[in-house]
Symmetry: C2
Subunit: 196 residues, 2 copies
DNA sequence: ATAAATATTTTGACCGGTCAGTATAATTTT
DNA sequence: AAAATTATACTGACCGGTCAAAATATTTAT
């Protein structure tokens, strides 16, 4: 059945994710993916065009999952400042959880230039992120909590702030900075949106 | 001579840089480096421990060059707002020049986790960047142009803003966004530093 | 219901090719 | 000539992708 094949694909994507978090994206071989999924070497090639195709699907899965988590977090509170807080709490959910996800995301970012498929997936992810930011800013302006000239620009800058902060936190492997980066990012964004 | 060996190393690093901008970091082989330097295959291994060592030196060279350019730009003007402007003009100097440098930088960032040597080089680069930001913010506060509570935090957030913006611009390969990102980043930072 | 036929999925050996690193020979420099 | 440098050939490991055969599931025929 088609459902069965889809399940297998999901299993392989999950295996690729685990292999990548263990060994680092670039060192993952088709054999690794098969091993982690507990199937034989030929299986990944049976369900996917090639290795890159597996990773493209993983990238898609990863960005969709990040977006869904962020989106769900924002939806659970009412006011714009609360939504912003919830958004950032989700982005900086915990050092352990963040690290695997965003390290892998960074691996993909570095390869976007080479692969149009990655580019497309990332464009969709950005659009999703911008939509969260736009929604929060619009509501904040409407409620008089925020003050901005250009909602779209602000939404884009909010994501730039988040990505830049996460990037720094990831690449400075110093201890304990996680909480500091979360509050710094929060305060920075509050300034971006002209909160009082 | 020691100077001669240093020159050769520089030639090889330059070759690695050109090969990487042409073919993409991950596809560069030792043979490529030799070819671009117009020497034979054995030479890179004679002057460097191994391939990773060549790239570590390239990373160092790259980040130092970025920092020097930014630093020089800032030094050419007087006031804090002017320095900020000059800083960003240098960061967003032109789509073509930026793209090769920052694409390669992004490649390195993705590999920091795997390689302590890369991590160290990047830590030094960040420290340099923060020092530029700190200096501008301190002067701005002193002159009454800027208003911030925490200079250090602001310096770090300025770089996060820059990196996040560059990252977005790089990965959204849409045309013409370069100028828009420059002004957006500028306006965002002006809010971060409490200008007006 | 059972057997036979067919379709799908899985296996793992294998191939072609790449590449980092090595060893040694040739060349240049001192 | 001795040392340093460069050129070239080679090695061994690795890996992506293929494929024929085996195993399993599904359908059809009796």
């Amino acid at each position: 059945m088609a459902g069965k094949a889809e399940e297998r694909k999901q299993q392989l994507i999950k295996a690729a994710f685990e292999a990548a978090t263990d060994k680092g994206y670039e060192h993952v071989t088709l054999q690794d993916i098969a091993d982690y999924a507990e199937v034989s070497k030929g299986v990944p090639n049976y369900y996917f065009k090639n290795k890159g195709d597996v990773f493209a699907h993983l990238f898609e899965w990863l960005t969709e999952r990040i977006f869904e988590n962020e989106s769900a977090a924002v939806d659970q509170v009412e006011t714009a400042p609360e939504k912003l807080q919830a958004y950032l709490d989700q982005v900086f959910i915990s050092p352990e959880e963040n690290r695997t996800f965003y390290q892998l995301y960074l691996d993909f970012l570095a390869r976007i230039k080479q692969d149009p498929a990655y580019q497309k997936i990332n464009a969709a992810f950005y659009e999703h992120c911008f939509s969260i930011g736009r929604m929060i800013v619009e509501q904040g302006v409407r409620d008089g909590d925020f003050h901005v000239h250009d909602v779209e620009q602000t939404a884009v800058m909010i994501r730039a702030m988040i990505d830049g902060t996460l990037l720094q936190w990831l690449t400075r492997q110093e201890e304990d900075l996680h909480g500091w980066y979360r509050t710094s990012c929060h305060q920075g964004i509050l300034r971006l949106v002209g909160a009082q």
